[in-house]
Subunit: 205 residues, 2 copies
């Protein structure tokens, strides 16, 4: 796509580097901004510049944070003995939105994936082991993707823990709520049968 304006061209090129945004969508974004007041564009760009230059990552759990230690790690209302291990900041947000977990998190920053060149050293695994070694942690909940890479990462961390006195668990795999049995794949279905739970306890959820 060729533009009559160099300024427009540059803006569209920059915008189309965002994930999942092509030239057409980028053009739509830029034309939208052109239709709005100049203040709106300034607010957008200031917010982006600010978040990029001032954002911090929590030194304990590597979650995104405005301070050195994030408000979850800092909160005395949260159970400091349980750590939920997740891949990404988005997973923290997803779990927080369910309000079903009251412990702390540990953001790995990805999962072990030799195909993408991600090894254990590229992830925040060492700092997790250190958190466990410092004591006071009773349980690690692995909440990674239900993929080969996720399982590998779980297993790697499990091995690294050695005989540290910590319980490990992984989130349940089974039929997603609202899904019909006939469309479930075999692995999911057989796992959900193996890991069946007493009917009485399902009533309490």
């Amino acid at each position: 796509m060729e533009f009559s304006s160099k300024l427009l061209q540059t803006a569209v090129d920059e915008m189309s580097q965002l994930p999942g945004v092509g030239k057409r969508t980028a053009l739509r974004f830029v034309l939208h901004l052109l239709r709005q007041s100049e203040t709106q564009t300034q607010q957008l760009t200031t917010a982006l510049n600010k978040v990029r230059s001032e954002i911090k990552f929590c030194k304990k759990c590597h979650n995104i944070s405005d301070a050195e230690i994030c408000h979850i790690c800092n909160s005395n209302k949260r159970d400091q003995t349980v750590i939920c291990v997740v891949e990404d900041i988005r997973d923290v947000l997803a779990i927080e939105n369910t309000s079903s977990f009251n412990g702390l998190y540990h953001v790995l920053g990805g999962k072990i994936s030799p195909m993408d060149g991600v090894g254990p050293n590229n992830l925040h695994i060492e700092s997790l082991i250190n958190r466990v070694k410092q004591g006071n942690v009773e349980e690690l909940i692995f909440a990674l993707s239900a993929t080969m890479e996720g399982d590998t990462t779980n297993f790697y961390i499990y091995k690294q823990l050695g005989d540290l006195p910590v319980k490990t668990s992984t989130i349940a795999r089974g039929i997603a709520v609202g899904n019909e049995l006939e469309y479930a794949d075999e692995v999911t279905l057989s796992r959900s049968i193996q890991n069946r739970i007493p009917f009485e306890s399902s009533l309490k959820l």
Copy 2:
């Protein structure tokens, strides 16, 4: 969605005001920028600020431009006697990409749509009539959407032209190239039969 960081919250809120972008997509954009270098965010925001503050609209055809008069209106290689009337800047880009038109454009900035509160005075219709009155224009090609609003706008301009000595035409409606007959709607199909063209002339395209 609630974020642990105010900076992130503001950035996501601003990003989600772009058309078709929800909170989740906005978060994906912002997290992507956080993973890139700070320079990349600066380049993006500078480009956006610059295009918003410095962009001009051509005084003749209202197309987007870096100068007072756009490079299409200024070009002496283009046929100054034919004006293609379009709704939007994107339509200019679309037609330019076909390389099938060598005249000038006139961007209306929308179409007459009482439902959306857009009347003839909100569009660049007066300046179009003035361009025709100044003479030297032999043909107006209406290239608006094939919708009720597009047709209304065509007809309004046609009436405003009165008995000015200018030919008017509208782009052909018919079966889109590559489409199968059985899926075409009746109006399109009947129009394509009424406006059939000599087979010999179709061979030349």
